[in-house]
């Protein structure tokens, strides 16, 4: 496999005018990008806004993407620049006031310690997390090991094959079946009552 073939196949489609292909890239990298941006802004909602902006910038700049680097590396750089710009442009401490430094510091710690999600995100996030955890706990050990090595340790199929002493094809199958089992439960969270699109207004 050539590295990055997955992303590149989607990128090429987008470059040829297929907007739907970009959705797939966003879906794949949105969590990573938000987490990255949160290094620069503490506020998760603001981080989401900045990540959103980064994705849109990436979309517009895609014609210039030549594949010199991996797509995610390129996207990552755009996100960092966007985050930095956002921080610089919105930083407006009133300089004539002597700010109470200790208040500032404690606020900083508080945000880092706490999981400041929106109530709605909190509801769904908690439910998602517990659903996934429960599903993983219920997996046969070989499936569980495979998916955890892949998602948590980021090992390639070859590396996992070596770790689990089995063929690469088996790794691929185990990861797929693990995802299927988890997704069966997750689908209910997303599609059962909670996921129905809602008419606003």
């Amino acid at each position: 496999m050539s590295a990055d073939a997955s992303d590149l196949s989607l990128v090429h489609r987008v470059q040829r005018g297929d907007k739907g292909a970009f959705d797939a890239l966003v879906l794949k990298y949105q969590h990573k990008l938000v987490k990255l941006v949160m290094r620069y802004v503490r506020n998760p909602a603001e981080a989401e806004d900045i990540a959103q902006e980064a994705f849109i910038k990436a979309y517009r700049a895609l014609p210039q993407f030549r594949g010199d680097s991996a797509f995610y590396t390129w996207l990552y750089r755009i996100a960092i620049n966007t985050a930095k710009n956002a921080v610089v442009s919105r930083d407006r401490s009133p300089i004539e006031y002597e700010l109470d430094r200790s208040n500032e510091e404690s606020y900083d710690m508080q945000s880092r310690m706490k999981d400041a999600e929106t109530p709605e995100g909190l509801v769904l996030t908690d439910e998602i997390r517990s659903t996934v955890n429960a599903a993983i706990d219920a997996l046969p050990e070989d499936l569980r090991t495979a998916i955890v090595l892949r998602e948590l340790e980021g090992l390639s199929y070859e590396e996992i094959a070596a770790a689990m002493a089995c063929p690469v094809g088996t790794v691929r199958s185990r990861i797929f079946r693990a995802r299927e089992a988890i997704d069966r439960r997750l689908r209910q969270v997303f599609e059962g009552g909670l996921g129905r699109a809602e008419e606003i207004g």
């Binding site: 909602a45 004539e96 006031y97 002597e98 606020y107 999981d115 109530p119 009552g193």
Partner: protein
């Protein structure tokens, strides 16, 4: 009343479950997060809306237009019936049009001063207020979160906020006393968030012919403010800290004024210290106590200086703070 959506019921059930088992850390920060988002929305978004303001049995409609463009804030707040008063802020200039007094009060602030800093909710704040989300509701077909901020003592007021899920704008706001009784209420009747607002939207409609214009002089260097003395509060109500001071001149006067700011993270009180001067002819001195809506003001004279405290807190709190402000000779 239409049946609540599944999502609202589900969330409500979860919210009640959390409450029943004691508040898990995960729930406590969510409401604070909404307050942050709301403050962000109010200070960084463009919006144009009309709202009703209720206080003391009196309701009036106002229009607010707010724009942030190239780092500059413009806003205009106009009374739609009754007084015809308007407040306009463009860049460095703050103007109050008071047709009832045939006066315009203009304050010029240096560019840095035109940027607003407001108190940040801290760990400390949470120990003086109980901040929680008590539910969600549709407020005229908009999904809103109901956030309550309940003061734990009599020194401060509380809020009930209906925060729009999508924009984090506070569609309805109630200011409450420590018993939970509503003292002041603001409800949006219409609201748009345009991406562009023309400069013309910020021009006042008040005809100022024959009006008296009160402007301020350039502020003196900080060393001169309040004389050679530094002013500070001897004691403060629990949770309040001084977070800043600046020197400025107020419109209509050449006296330098020391502006001290105290806050508990949510409520703030400004204390103005100026040399006591004789009242000009035709102008009533600021009363010993005054109310502007739910905000309170109190002034007293100490050592030849007039000390005025103003804040969105109960009258006793401004009185407390004003009477605690003393000078330290240098």
């Amino acid at each position: 009343m239409s049946r609540p959506t599944f999502r609202n019921e589900h969330f409500a059930a979860l919210a009640l479950a959390w409450t029943a088992t004691g508040v898990a850390p995960a729930e406590e920060q969510a409401p604070t997060h909404w307050l942050e988002r709301m403050n962000q929305a109010l200070t960084t978004r463009n919006y144009d809306g009309t709202f009703s303001h209720w206080h003391g049995g009196h309701v009036e409609m106002l229009r607010i237009i707010h724009r942030v463009q190239d780092g500059t804030v413009s806003e205009r707040l106009a009374s739609l019936d009754g007084s015809g008063r308007e407040f306009v802020r463009t860049g460095a200039s703050l103007s109050c049009y008071l047709p009832d007094k045939r006066t315009v009060v203009v304050e010029q602030r240096p560019p840095e001063k035109s940027l607003v800093g407001f108190p940040a909710v801290t760990d400390q704040t949470a120990s003086f207020y109980d901040i929680r989300e008590i539910g969600r509701t549709r407020l005229n077909r908009r999904d809103t979160h109901i956030i309550t901020v309940s003061p734990k003592d009599e020194y401060r007021y509380g809020y009930r906020l209906w925060i729009d899920d999508s924009t984090a704008m506070p569609l309805k706001t109630q200011l409450c006393d420590t018993h939970g009784h509503v003292i002041e209420q603001i409800v949006f009747a219409s609201l748009t968030l345009p991406s562009r607002i023309p400069d013309s939207a910020f021009r006042t409609e008040v005809s100022t012919e024959g009006f008296q214009w009160l402007r301020n002089e350039t502020p003196p260097p900080p060393a001169q403010a309040g004389g050679a003395m530094a002013w500070s509060a001897m004691r403060l109500p629990p949770g309040f800290k001084m977070t800043g001071r600046s020197a400025q001149t107020l419109p209509g006067s050449t006296d330098p004024v020391d502006h001290l700011v105290f806050t508990d993270g949510l409520a703030s009180v400004s204390v103005f210290v100026e040399p006591q001067r004789a009242a000009k002819a035709g102008e009533s001195p600021v009363a010993e106590t005054a109310e502007v809506g739910s905000s309170s003001a109190f002034s007293t004279v100490v050592d030849g200086h007039k000390i005025t405290a103003v804040g969105e807190v109960p009258p006793d709190t401004v009185r407390f703070i004003a009477t605690q402000v003393k000078a330290h000779g240098k």
